[in-house]
C-alpha cells in the first residue's frame, strides 16, 4: 500500500481514536454476574439537575433511540404565583438541547428527568399478551424484541409515558437501565453523562450502596404513588406540582 503524505494526515487522527479505544479496553466483563444478587433502582436528585440534556443525548447515542422518541427525557416545570395545580411544563426534544432561560424572577423553576420507573408491580408487564415484556430477576423491566407483537397495550398501560413503538422495528421499546452495561459492572449511560450527579444508579440489594444512607436521610418520593406500581425511580426534592 502506497501511503502518501496526504493519506497519512487523514489516517493519523483515526489511528489515534482507535488507539484510545484499544487502551480503554473492552468494558469490564462480569462473568459472575448473578441476577439474584441485585435489585436495581435509580435515584434522581431534582435539586442537582440543571437541565443540560446530557443524559438524554447519552441515552440516545448509547441505545440508538430513534428521533422523536425518548427512553429518558427532561421536563422543565415552571410554577407561577405558587399556582402548583397549573404548572407550565415543557420538554422540547426531550430536553436534549437544554432549555431557554427563564427571565421571570417570580417563578419557581426546576427540572425533572424522567425515564422508566422499573416498577416492581409494573402495569405494563401485567398486560402484555405474550409476556414479551417482563421484570428481570434483578428488577429491570425489559422487552424481548423478538417476541413482542407490537399490540401497544403496554404503551397504554404505562402511567408515566415511558414506552413507545420503534418506528422501524414495530416493537415496544423503553429504558433498559442500560442492562448491557450494568450487568458488566458499569453504570448507565445517563448516570455516567450527568455532570452534577443528579442521577445515581442504585442497587438495593447491595448493603454498601450509598442509596441506603440517602434514603434514610432524605425525603424521597416516587411519581404517582397512588397507582401503587412499586416504582423504583426515587426522586429527592420532588415538588407537588410534578405529574
Amino acid at each position: 500500500m502506497n501511503i502518501t503524505r496526504r493519506k497519512m494526515l487523514v489516517l493519523l487522527p483515526a489511528a489515534a481514536l482507535a488507539w484510545e479505544n484499544l487502551l480503554a479496553g473492552e468494558p469490564e466483563k462480569a462473568p459472575n454476574y448473578g441476577t439474584a444478587e441485585h435489585w436495581w433502582a435509580m435515584l434522581v436528585d431534582i435539586e442537582k439537575c440543571i437541565g443540560c440534556g446530557s443524559c438524554v443525548n447519552a441515552c440516545q447515542q448509547e441505545n440508538h433511540v430513534p428521533d422523536g422518541y425518548y427512553r429518558t427525557w427532561i421536563e422543565r416545570y415552571r410554577v407561577y404565583d405558587n399556582d402548583w395545580d397549573n404548572p407550565v411544563v415543557d420538554s422540547p426534544e426531550g430536553g436534549k438541547l437544554g432549555f431557554p432561560s427563564e427571565k421571570n424572577p417570580n417563578v419557581k423553576q426546576f427540572f425533572v428527568p424522567k425515564m422508566c420507573n422499573h416498577c416492581a408491580d409494573s402495569p405494563c408487564t401485567q398486560v402484555c399478551p405474550v409476556g414479551a415484556t417482563f421484570i428481570s430477576p434483578d428488577g429491570v423491566v425489559l422487552v424481548d424484541e423478538k417476541y413482542c407483537l407490537g399490540c401497544r397495550y403496554c404503551v397504554q398501560a404505562c402511567p408515566y409515558g415511558c414506552r413507545f413503538i420503534h418506528p422501524e422495528k414495530k416493537v415496544a421499546q423503553k429504558c433498559t437501565l442500560c442492562y448491557h452495561r450494568i450487568s458488566k459492572g458499569l453504570t448507565t449511560a445517563c448516570c455516567e453523562a450527568c455532570p452534577t450527579g443528579a442521577r445515581q444508579l442504585a442497587d438495593l440489594k447491595n448493603p454498601n450502596d450509598p442509596i441506603h444512607q440517602f434514603l434514610r436521610t432524605h425525603s424521597v418520593q416516587v411519581l404517582k404513588p397512588h397507582l401503587a406500581t412499586g416504582a423504583k425511580l426515587y426522586y429527592n426534592g420532588l415538588d407537588g406540582s410534578v405529574r
Binding site: Y70, P129, V130, G131, C148, C158, F164, K170
Partner: protein, 395 residues
C-alpha cells in the same frame, strides 16, 4: 400532530387507531345479536322467532371479522399465534384468543349447525353438483333426521344456548375489561366499563338484527312481522335505558368526585369530543332513539309510522354506539397522562389503519352474511319450500 399544553414526549403519537374502535363495535354486535337469538331459544319469547336464525348468522358473520382489525393493527401480525401458544395469563388481551375460539367453535358454530342440521341434510339430498358437495360436507357425515335425532339436536342446541349466554357476556364484558382495567388511564379505568360495554353491545346487536330483518323482508318482498319488530323494539328500549343509565351513572360519578383527572377529561368533552360524545353519542345516538321508541310505545301509531321510527332509531343507535366506541378508544388517548395537555387524532384514509380499511371491515360482515344467508336461508318455511321443490323435481 397538533398538541395543546404538555404531553409526555412519547405520548404525542396515538397508539390505537380507528381499527381498535371497530373491534369492540364488531364484537359488540356479535354478543348483542346472540343475546337476542337466545331470547327466543331460552326465554321463549316467541314473537322474535322470525329473527332467530338471522340473528345467529349475523353473529357468526361479525364474529368471523372480529379479529381482523386487531390483526391489521399489530406491529408483527405474524407473531399473533404466540397468544395461543404462550399466553400471558395476567393479560386481558391474551384471553381474547381463547374466549373468541370458545365462542366461535363451542357456541356459535355448534348452535347454528344443530339448528340447521335438518335443512342441511335435506339440501344435500335435493341439490346437485358443487352445491351438493358443500352441503354434504356440512352434514359432517350425519344424515339422520329422524324425529328422535332432531329432538336430541333441539335439546343439545338449547343447552348450547344456555352456555352461550354467559359466553356472550364474557366475550364482550372482557372487551370492556381490556379498557376498564388500565389504571394508568382514568378515562378507561372504571369497573363499570365491562357492564357499559355489555349493555351497549346488546343495544347495537338488537338494533342491527332489527334493521337487517326489516331490510331482508323488504328485499324478499315479504311482509314484516310487526309483532316481531314491536317486541324487538321493546327490548331495544329496555336495554337502551339500562345502558344509558349506566353511562350517566359513570358521568355523574366522575363529575361529583372530580378527581385529579376531572379537569382534563371535562375539558376534552367540551372541546375535542364535543361532537362525537355530546352531539352524536348522547343526543343523536341515545336520547333521540330512546325518545322515538317511547313515542312508538305510548302512542298507537300506525304500522307505517312505527316502521319508519324503528328504522330511523335503529340507524341512529348504530351510529351512536359506534360513536361510543370511538369516544372510549380514541378519546382515551387524546389527553396526556400528565393531565396537562391534549393531542389530536388524524384519521388517515388509505393506510393500513385508515378509514377505507375500517369501512371495508364494517362491510365485510355484510358480505359474509350474504353468503351465509344464501347457503343457509334463515327464513321460516324456506326449507319446506326447498323440500317441496325438490319433491316436485323428483316426481
Amino acid at each position: 400532530m397538533h398538541t395543546d399544553g404538555f404531553m409526555y414526549p412519547n405520548e404525542i403519537e396515538l397508539q390505537w387507531s380507528i381499527l381498535i374502535a371497530v373491534y369492540p363495535y364488531v364484537t359488540g354486535l356479535v354478543a348483542g345479536a346472540f343475546i337476542l337469538a337466545s331470547l327466543e331459544r331460552v326465554f321463549r319469547v316467541e314473537e322474535v322467532k322470525p329473527t332467530y336464525r338471522l340473528a345467529l348468522l349475523t353473529a357468526l358473520a361479525f364474529l368471523l371479522v372480529a379479529p381482523l382489525p386487531l390483526q391489521l393493527h399489530l406491529g408483527h401480525p405474524e407473531r399473533s399465534f404466540e397468544m395461543y401458544l404462550t399466553p400471558h395469563r395476567s393479560s386481558a388481551m391474551a384471553m381474547f384468543g381463547f374466549v373468541y375460539l370458545w365462542y366461535l367453535m363451542a357456541v356459535l358454530v355448534v348452535e347454528i349447525w344443530l339448528d340447521y342440521r335438518r335443512d342441511i341434510v335435506l339440501k344435500a339430498q335435493s341439490t346437485t353438483g358443487f352445491k351438493r358437495l358443500i352441503y354434504r360436507v356440512l352434514t359432517l357425515g350425519s344424515d339422520n333426521i329422524s324425529e328422535r335425532a332432531l329432538a336430541i339436536d333441539n335439546r343439545v342446541g338449547w343447552i348450547v344456548t344456555v352456555i352461550g349466554i354467559p359466553s356472550a357476556f364474557l366475550l364482550h364484558g372482557y372487551v370492556g375489561f381490556i379498557f376498564g382495567s388500565i389504571k394508568a388511564n382514568p378515562w378507561w379505568s372504571t369497573p363499570l366499563m365491562p357492564v357499559v360495554f355489555l349493555f351497549s353491545a346488546m343495544v347495537s346487536g338488537i338494533a342491527v338484527v332489527m334493521l337487517l330483518y326489516m331490510l331482508t323482508s323488504k328485499l324478499r318482498k315479504q311482509p314484516i312481522d310487526m309483532r316481531c319488530v314491536d317486541t324487538i323494539a321493546k327490548y331495544l328500549f329496555y336495554t337502551f335505558i339500562i345502558d344509558f343509565s349506566l353511562e350517566m351513572l359513570d358521568l355523574i360519578h366522575r363529575i361529583y368526585e372530580s378527581d385529579e383527572s376531572f379537569r382534563s377529561l371535562d375539558f376534552m368533552v367540551h372541546t375535542r369530543l364535543y361532537l362525537s360524545q355530546i352531539v352524536i353519542q348522547i343526543v343523536l345516538g341515545t336520547v333521540v332513539p330512546i325518545g322515538l321508541l317511547v313515542l312508538a310505545q305510548i302512542f298507537s301509531l300506525n304500522e307505517n309510522w312505527r316502521k319508519r321510527i324503528y328504522v330511523f332509531s335503529g340507524c341512529l343507535t348504530m351510529i351512536g354506539i359506534f360513536a361510543m366506541r370511538w369516544n372510549v378508544v380514541i378519546g382515551g388517548q387524546l389527553f396526556s397522562k400528565s393531565f396537562l395537555g391534549y393531542t389530536t387524532y388524524k384519521l388517515e384514509l388509505i393506510t393500513r389503519e385508515g378509514l377505507l380499511i375500517a369501512v371495508a371491515l364494517m362491510l365485510l360482515p355484510l358480505a359474509i352474511l350474504y353468503v351465509l344467508v344464501k347457503l343457509l336461508p334463515p327464513w321460516e318455511g324456506a326449507e319446506e319450500t326447498a323440500h317441496a321443490t325438490s319433491a316436485r323435481a323428483g316426481a
